[in-house]
Structure formats: C-alpha cells, structure tokens
C-alpha cells in the first residue's frame, strides 16, 4: 500500500511529570505528563497525550512587562497571586509560569520574599507551576534553593539553566525533586551539550525540559523552528541526550516592531496573532509547553490544539 510511510524512528521522547497532586505528595489539582511521543507532533493519537500545554506567564515585578498585557489585565498584574488565579480561572491556562523579576533588580537581597511569592502563587492557583528565578550567578544559589523549598513536593519546573550557570539550579531541583528548563541559544548541539552537563551532575533525564530559545515571529523564529525540529528528529532517531520535551516561550512577541507600531485599534489583535502563530508553529515542530503572555491567545491555541488531537485519523489507507 502506497500510504505506508516509514520515517525510520526508533525512540520515544522521555516523559516528564509536571505538578504533583495530593496522591503524589503535592497540592495541585492536576498533574501533567508531557513527552512520550514516538513520531512527529500530531501524527499519532497517543492515548495519554493531552496536546501541548499552554502556560501563562506572569511576574512579581511588572514594571518592564509589556504594556499591552498590563493594559489588558489591569491592576491584577501588581499582585502575582491574583494574577495567577485569573490565569487559572478566567484565562484558562494549563500552567502558570512565574518570573521572579523582582530578583533581577540591582543588588537584590531579600531572599525571603522569594519564598513568600512562590507560596502565595501556589496558594492562589492549583495549577502546576513553572518558576523563573534569578539571573545573576551571585544570588542564583539562594534564590533557587528558596524556590525549590517553597515548592517542595509540587514537582515544579524551574528555570533557567544555561551552559554557563546550571549548577545552582540543578542542585535546587535535585534537592526538592523538581524539573529543570535547560536553555541554549538556538542550536541543537548546544542544547545537547547542556543536557549532557545536567546529566553528569545528576539531573535525571525525566527532569529536564529543553528550551531551545524562541525567536519571535519575523525575528529569528525560523532558527528556533529548525532547532526544535532538529531536536525532535534527533530524539526520534535515538539520541537520548535530546529526547526531552521542548518548551517554547517567544518572550519578544509583544515587543516586535509589527506589534509596537500597530494602529491602536488592532494592536491587541496583532499581538495575539503573533503569539498564536508562533505557538502553533512551534507545537508543529515539537514544542509541548507553549508559553504566552496575552490572555486572549489562550483560547485560540486551545481550540487549535483540540482540532489537532481529534480522534486518530487514518493515514488514508484502509
């Protein structure tokens, strides 16, 4: 039969668990399992694959956050607990990604506040959480340990490990059984190198999510798209060091020229289309967590993902 197609895949994407419910020692109402794919995205109806997850990004210090989002979400952005709650109950996200932007102020030293922020978000939403910690090697260790501790038992996803600074975050993740986002600058080799580094200091493969870095649409997205595809292909062909699920966060989407310079009447629409198109294409390349910042992007992606995981479609043959 003509339609029998063989890609020659031999391997499976590693399954990673995000969030822990009561039975697993956490307090989340849901626990997700991503990974497990055996071919290209959406080509198979994997029974327990719920489709890519949509993570809504919030932060604890929104002064540099996109004004488009601040205008849309209003005052709620000043209380990340409430913001997280809205993302869960109003916007309909699958996960919350909390950026601890407060730690990125100069000479930040209030480590205790980090724990309080994480705890407050954990108490305001029962969705699984991604936490983005500090960006400065001198405080990394304390910040990540504090995050890890505050979320102990919750199977958080901690970000972001890079080739130049991965030891602190890995230590915190291992100490409290969280997973780690491993970010490398849009290159399949560098992604693999970082995974090997993490593996060699003891991070388990099923505790790593690859972030190949997403350039936004029109500004390098093609490189990220290729990096994601190459990671998926390499994984399926048997490269265990690349066989981890991928997270996509096109954080520059809302600041690109097309959005910035848009006529006010359609600025929101363009922002949403930019996030939506990027997220959808990334999912087709293999990303399994799609991060967005505009609440209106969520229902669009949700609908598309539903349409993409409809009953197993026959390949055309009988």
């Amino acid at each position: 039969m003509v339609s029998d197609v063989n890609f020659g895949w031999s391997s499976t994407i590693v399954k990673v668990i995000l969030g822990a419910t009561k039975t697993n020692g956490g307090t989340r109402r849901l626990s997700y399992q991503i990974g497990g794919g055996t071919t290209l995205p959406f080509l198979e109806g994997t029974p327990d694959f719920s489709g890519p997850l949509i993570a809504f990004e919030i932060c604890d210090d929104p002064q540099n956050w996109s004004s488009i989002v601040r205008n849309y979400c209003q005052d709620i952005v000043n209380d990340c607990g409430e913001w997280a709650h809205a993302a869960d109950s109003v916007y309909g996200a699958d996960m919350i990604r909390l950026y601890l932007t407060s730690t990125r102020q100069r000479n930040f030293s209030d480590i205790a506040s980090v724990g309080k922020t994480v705890e407050s978000v954990l108490s305001k939403t029962s969705l699984p959480l991604i936490i983005e910690g500090s960006n400065e090697s001198t405080i990394d260790s304390e910040v990540f340990l504090k995050c890890g501790e505050a979320g102990e038992g919750e199977r958080l996803l901690l970000g972001t490990a890079e080739a130049g600074r991965y030891r602190s975050i890995a230590a915190a993740a291992m100490a409290y059984n969280h997973s780690v986002i491993a970010q490398s600058p849009i290159d399949v080799n560098l992604a693999k190198q970082l995974n090997i580094l993490l593996k060699e200091i003891g991070v388990a493969r099923d505790h790593i999510v690859i972030d190949p870095y997403t350039g936004s649409l029109g500004y390098g997205f093609e490189y990220s798209y290729s990096a994601m595809e190459r990671i998926r292909f390499a994984a399926l062909k048997g490269d265990a060091d690349l066989a981890m699920p991928v997270i996509c966060s096109a954080i520059d989407s809302l600041t690109v020229k097309e959005v910035r310079d848009a006529e006010p009447a359609i600025q929101d629409d363009i922002a949403v289309q930019w996030e939506f198109t990027t997220g959808l294409a990334a999912a087709a390349a293999g990303a399994e967590i799609i991060c967005v910042r505009h609440p209106r992007t969520i229902p669009l992606l949700r609908k598309a993902f539903t349409n993409l995981k409809s009953e197993k479609t026959d390949m055309g043959g009988q």
């Binding site: 080799n189 693999k192 090997i196």
Partner: protein, 633 residues
Amino acid sequence: MRTVTFIPGYRKIDAEQGSTILDAAQRAGLNINVVCGGQGKCGKCIVYVRSGKTIFDQQKYKRFFTDDELAQGACLACQTTIESDLQVFIPDSTSIQEQKILIDGQETAMEFHPSVRKYYIELQPPTISDPSPDLSRLLWGIQKAGGPSAEKIYAPLEMLRKIPAILRHSEWKATGTVALVPGGYRLVDVQENDTAKRLYGAAVDLGSTTIVVYIWDLVTGKIAGVASNYNRQISCGEDILARVNFARKNGLSKLQALATESINLAITTASNTAGIDREDIYEIVVAGNTVMTHMLLGIDPAYMISEPYVPVVRRALSVSTGRIGITCNPNGGLFVFPAVSDFIGGDIIADILACGMSEKEEISLLIDIGTNFEVVLGNSEWMFSCAGAAGPALEGGEVLFGMRANPGAIEKISIEPGTLNPLYTTINGIKPQGICGSGLIDLLAELLCTCVIDRTGRINTGIANPRIRTNSHFPEYVIEWANRTGIGKDIVITENDIKNLIMSKASVHAACVTLMNQAGINRKEISTIYFAGAFGNYINKKNATIIGLIPEISIDKIVNIGNGAVTGANIALINRRMRKTLDEIACRIAYIELNAESSFMDEYTSGTFLPHTELTLFPMVQKLLDTCRITKE
C-alpha cells in the same frame, strides 16, 4: 643619529631618533620575538631600557607587565621610540632561541634513483681522422659510461664555454654531471679528472618558522649531514599573513632574500659539519607551503591571501639554483614541490609522500597542525583535503602563559586526582616559564579527567582547592606558584585560555569530519591517522584523543611521521620515480573550501565540547571518563 647598545653582547647600532628599538635590534641582527609583527598586540618583544631616553606608553600596554617590570624599564621594543643614545637589555624570553626543531623524518627505506648522476670519462683526444666536436666526444663518453644516450642530453651555453679548456687541461679525463630535467637530460657540470664521488643533493623543508636541510650523498645514497635554523623571515612578521602584508608594503625582495639566506645558512652548516664543498651540491629539493615557495621564487603571493585566493602557480617547478641565490653548484637545479591550492602546499604533498597514503588502498587521515592546519583524507584512488585556521592556541598563542616549545616550556603534564597537584616536565628541565602546545593538550585532558572543568571547559569553582580560584571574575587553575617558576609569577590557565583551546581543537575535528562526510565514511573506516609536523610529534596521542582533537581510532593506529615535509623532500631528492608522481598526486587531491561548506559551522559547534557533543563518536574516551568519575567519588 643615536647609538643603541644591546646587552648582553654589547652589540651597537646607529638608529634614527624616533625609530623603534625593534627596528634597531633587527638591523643589529638580533632575533626578537614578534608574534604580531610589531603591532603592539602580542606583548612578546619585552626589552628593558637601562639608560637613555625613550617614548613608550606604559598606560596603554600595562596589561603586558607587572608594576615591578615597568619600574625596571620594561617596554615593548616595537612600540618604543629611540630619543637618545640607549642601552637596552634583551632578556632571554624575548630573543628567539633555538626552539625544539623537528628534524627527524621517518626512516626512509626508499629505492635510490637520484636524478643527478656523475660520469667519470677518459676520452681519446681528437685527431685529424677523428675530428668530432668536443661536445659529441664528451656526451658519447657519458653514454658509454652508462649515462643517457648522447642525443638526449642538452648542453647549455655556459657548459659549451667551459668544455674545451677543461678537457684539454685535464688531458681528456673529466667528470660530467647530468641531471634529469623535464623533457630530457641536461649537462650541468664538467669538471677535470675524477670527481664522481663528490655528488650531493639537499632536501629542504622550507617552513614558515623553521628550515630543515638534509644533505644526501647521491652516490652512496646516505645522509651526509643535517642542519636546521629559524626562518629569518620571522623578523618581518611571525605568521604568513603578516609577511605577505610586509611584502605588500615593502616589496618582496627582502623576504625572498631572507628565505634564500635561511636555506643557505642551513646548507652551509650541514655542509661544514659533513665536510662537503657546497659546490658539489647539484640539486636542491624544496617542500614548503604555497606562500613560502612563492616567496622563495620571488613570485608575488599577494593574490593568495584574499578572495578568491589564487596562487600564481600550482605545479612542480624546476629552476636553476643560481637564479635564486642558493649557495651550491651554480648550475645545480632547484626542484619545488607542487601544490594543491593556496592552502595545501608542497609541504603537504611531501607529507603525503612521506606517509605513503597515496599508495595505499586503506583510507588514511593526515593531519598537519600549526597555527593553520591542513587535513588530507583518502587512499590510492581519491583524496580530499582542506585547510583552516586552528588559531594560535595549540601553539601556545592566545593563552596567557602559552609559549613556543622553548626551554622552560611545560611540555608534559598530569594532574593528581584529589590533591589536583600537577606533575610536569619542562623542556631542558629548567624552571617553568609557560606551557607549550603539547603541555596544553595534556592539561586540557587532565583537567577534564579530574573534573576540574566540565565538558564545555568551564572550571568548577565549587571545588575547594587553592589551585582553583577566581581572578577578576575569571576562574583559573594554578599550575605552578610564582616562587617555583622561572618568571616570578603564578603560572595559570584561565577559563578563557581553555575556551580558546577548545575552539582550536573543534576546528581541527570539524575539518576532519567535513572531509569524512564528503567521502561518506565514518571513523571506523580510517585505518591510520598520520600526524605530521612538530606539533604532532610531541603531543600525547591519547590526550589528543581525549580532548577530541582528532576522530577516535585505536591509539596504536595513530602514527607520527615527524617532519613529513623533509621526509617527502628526501624521497623526492633520491627517487626520481616518486618525484614524477608528485604532480599527479597533487592533481588527484580535491580541495574543499571549509567556509563554503554549510555543515562546517554545525560540526564546529558540535566539537566545542569535550571530547565532542556526539559522545558515541568517542567510545574509548567516554569509558575512560566514566571510570575517572567513579574513582573521584
């Protein structure tokens, strides 16, 4: 006019006010280390002004000095201008010393078929009944003595002018020298009486740093003498690019003269040691890179160093030695190896000849590493080659305490797990002054095996050991403490040094893989890896594999051919059949332009990891590292 006195040695020279100390030193015949060609970038030409007035911007170049050194009058010779009579001290570390020059080629078990022969003949004087001309008489005599048939030998005008007097003066007993040249034979000399035993040839490796000469007895087929010295062109710039630029500005003649002078010096030394008259050297075979041979022949190399990188000539050349000023028999011939491209020169063809890869059915990989590297992959049927810049790191450049293989250089090193104390040897066994290429490769491998660095080369600053420290934000490993070194400073390797080394080794490996991909073969199909050149001769093969400099194959299949260029030149000198194949070999090699290969950058990134991102390509290394890690825990 000012007088500059250089110590030690008290050599005096007059210099213009406002000219540089470097300039004066060079004119005084002192060899000063100028890696950057005198641009104030390398910090190697440090001298001490003991008295007199100079202008030197201490502030601008302070990174090359300690405060003490500055207080003692240290400055960069190339950036210091002469304002009065001076006394200048040149420290050992600044003058170019005899480096470990690799003269050893391989043992050559080669058929002996030189292309120059001498024939002693005793002729019948002409008579009225036998009035044939002198030349015919001479050539018939040569033919009768076993030489080529008379009509095939061409006799140039200068020989015809010599013949009548010589034959008559020696009463018709003479020795004729005949050389095989493109298109036939040439009578190159006629001497009185029997000089047939005095026939020599010289094989020359014309390197950009060093010249090596072998003198062969072309009658017995034995080596008569060997000598080597620095390429005098170094005073016009350390690397080839700097020299080509020098030629652009100041003309080619100085570089041509320095190349000839360097070869002459080596020939003279070797002849003197062997007790040979240089007039008895009839043939010189030169293998050198394309730029060097162009310069030697006085051909403009300028078009080779920028796009589209075109050499003037590729094929093998034969010229008369007299025309380029080589001191040997003035009618002698000079044979220059052919090249494949601007980057794959006669030295590489000589390497190929030396290792014999072009004769074998099995696939070999030949690697010649210096500041640039050349790689050739292939067998008797096909060959691919490429060249690239490895960066100076592997030769000790761009590394804080890197140095050439001079006395005091750490050449071998291992690190004790646990204490992280190093165990090393230096060249000549004196107190360490720095690390040379082979030491750096050992160091990188050892730091990896002891987990001081991770696979990207970053130092694990979490290790509590005084040797691991952070110096102005950059982590470093202390190899030796100041009081035990020959330079009074801690000798360290920094994370940045390691990064430079990794980038260098990644380029070499990526070049190998690019050729392998082009041929569609994997590392297991490579039967032998040949290392040519000085660098390859001293490095630890296992450590070179551990850091991923070369594809992993069984260590015992890695062969150092030593100075392949001179071995190849030797072969071509004594075996005319092999010499004939050179153009054909050069023609068979396909040159791959790495910059045009889209996959090269990918392979390179993949190689910026220890040993490599694709660990399955290095199973032996992987196993070894696993054991290291277990031992550590």
